[in-house]
Symmetry: C2
Subunit: 335 residues, 2 copies
């Protein structure tokens, strides 16, 4: 058997911690023999949850952390002050090489800051982008960057494109992934200063399959596998996706309650509609990787279910086995 | 009776010109006695369409323009070279004071360039933003700017906020419209350089109801009436709106065809679903104004129906009667 993959799970992170985080961890153990899990957080709380399940006690252990970082705390301050929080303690395990990956459904800001300052970037990587998968008509595309570091430079975007391409090829299994840059028109001369500067650099990259610009209207169609953009724009795309899908669904539901005929129809379509929405919106695989770090950090939704946490953990196996960080080092940092 | 409002309609603009443009113009005449219409384009083609209808011949006339600017022509070159195009001829009528407004479903790029260089900006206005209405759960919000001039400065965004506020209050009839700036978090210290610079300036404006930042996920909820952003971001929001709504609807339809039960349900809900989608996506009132110009320019969708063209024309009445340009001059250019 190959070496064990050691994954830290922030037991205290997310709206429904620690019950869903612990359950997700226990369920992930059953999926693969290869993983061992370290739960960070308050030992008593975690122990109480663990007692509900039967599991391989050799493969799960607790590392105590007294503090929890809340969703409303200023991230930089929280990471600096709360050394004994489940996030900082967990990230330090990765930093010291005692674990390979860290999964958390806690504060996005704190995870991004902690990723950069506790785990640290791979030497030569200028920025660590947050890269969620977003649903499309053809499956899912990687939206890179959606992090907190806005006002990126062209060189950052080029690294995002190359890291995103490696991730999609080796973790998501998309052969020769199509890389596109978000733009306001299809032509090369279109765009803002940043895009105009980045476009020719991406064209020169021989290690990616650059297909040019993508307009926002074509993103949901799945016209590219890796969608490169600056974090402000990425954040707008990601959040508008969520917001618009949710509003549209609410409007449709409201509309269906308007007549007796449509009410009956609504009952009949309910299972199919639910399935479609779940398939479409559920393409995010439980968590978004923060790429380019010395180790893997995965950010799961604050509202994650135990299934989401499980998926986020499983994602780390592929990342580790495919040696993504080694590939990033080889391809991006040896120039 | 008050003075006639003279509206130029680009008879040749759009996917279905000149039949829908001419029909839209004739239908608009019936809605209001106040308007007179000038159709620009090829006289013979227009005449042939006009012959299909009965209308008040005193209130509609043709100004011949031999050329048409296509959707795929580089805008700056097209406006410069095609002096005898329906767009340039029509805009010159507005520039010379022979008409009050110009409506076109033609090339967005050409309309934006022509607006700036043929019609010209109001003195003191730094940029003319394109401001479409986008649908929300509460009705519609003005998204300003979605034009072609990216990389805006803070002072531009402040003018957009103030012009947008005047438009929403006096044309859309929203009392004391809530103005928000698109951001990646709700807090004042969040954002990119541009947003951080603009935010305090908006806070200082005493003539608008600035409510702070809006995250993209809250735009479809209708949490603000005027959504201020730089044109690159506005373009992404506008096009993602279109693209995501269309993809989601397609996925839902496909899902409904998956079982016999849902197929029957689909038949029953069809009218209600269609009505909902029409109500939700049809909030754009036919056209988007290009604000801050010496006259009004309205950009209608390339795929406009005659009803859309009619709505775009009617929109010009309110704009003219409420003396929006005078209000912009008074409020924005006397400092």
């Amino acid at each position: 058997m190959s070496r064990q993959i050691r994954i830290v799970v922030d037991a205290m992170g997310g709206d429904n911690a620690p019950d869903v985080t612990v359950r997700g961890a226990v369920e992930a153990l059953k999926v693969s023999e290869k993983i061992a899990i370290i739960l960070t957080g308050r030992t008593n709380d975690i122990q109480k949850e663990l007692e509900k399940y039967t599991y391989d006690k050799e493969r799960i252990r607790i590392v105590h952390a007294e503090d929890v970082i809340g969703f409303d705390e200023p991230p930089v301050m929280a990471i600096r002050k709360k050394k004994d929080s489940s996030i900082v303690v967990g990230m330090n395990l990765v930093k010291r090489g005692e674990a390979d990956a860290f999964v958390s459904a806690g504060s996005t800001g704190a995870i991004l800051v902690g990723g950069q300052f506790v785990v640290g970037r791979i030497k030569g990587i200028e920025r660590a982008p947050l890269a969620p998968l977003i649903p499309t008509a053809k499956g899912a595309s990687l939206l890179i960057d959606c992090g907190a570091n806005v006002d990126a430079r062209a060189s950052h975007l080029v690294q995002f494109a190359r890291m995103g391409s490696i991730y999609m090829e080796h973790v998501a299994g998309v052969k020769n992934p199509r890389v596109a840059i978000v733009n306001i028109g299809a032509e090369e001369e279109k765009g803002n200063i940043l895009v105009k500067e980045t476009y020719p650099l991406l064209k020169e990259c021989t290690d990616i399959n650059f297909v040019g610009s993508i307009e926002a209207r074509d993103i949901p169609k799945g016209n590219a596998d890796v969608i490169v953009c600056e974090a402000f724009v990425g954040n707008v795309i990601l959040k508008l996706y969520e917001g618009l899908a949710s509003t549209l669904l609410k409007e449709v539901k409201k509309g269906l309650m308007s007549t007796l005929r449509s009410k009956i129809g609504a009952l009949l379509i309910k299972p199919a509609l639910k399935k479609t929405m779940k398939e479409f919106m559920g393409a995010d695989q439980g968590g978004a990787p923060l790429l380019g770090l010395n180790g893997l950090v995965v950010k799961a939704h604050g509202s994650s279910s135990s299934e989401d946490i499980k998926q986020a953990i499983i994602q780390c196996i592929q990342f580790n086995e495919e040696e993504i960080n080694e590939k990033i080092k080889e391809n991006l940092t040896t120039e």
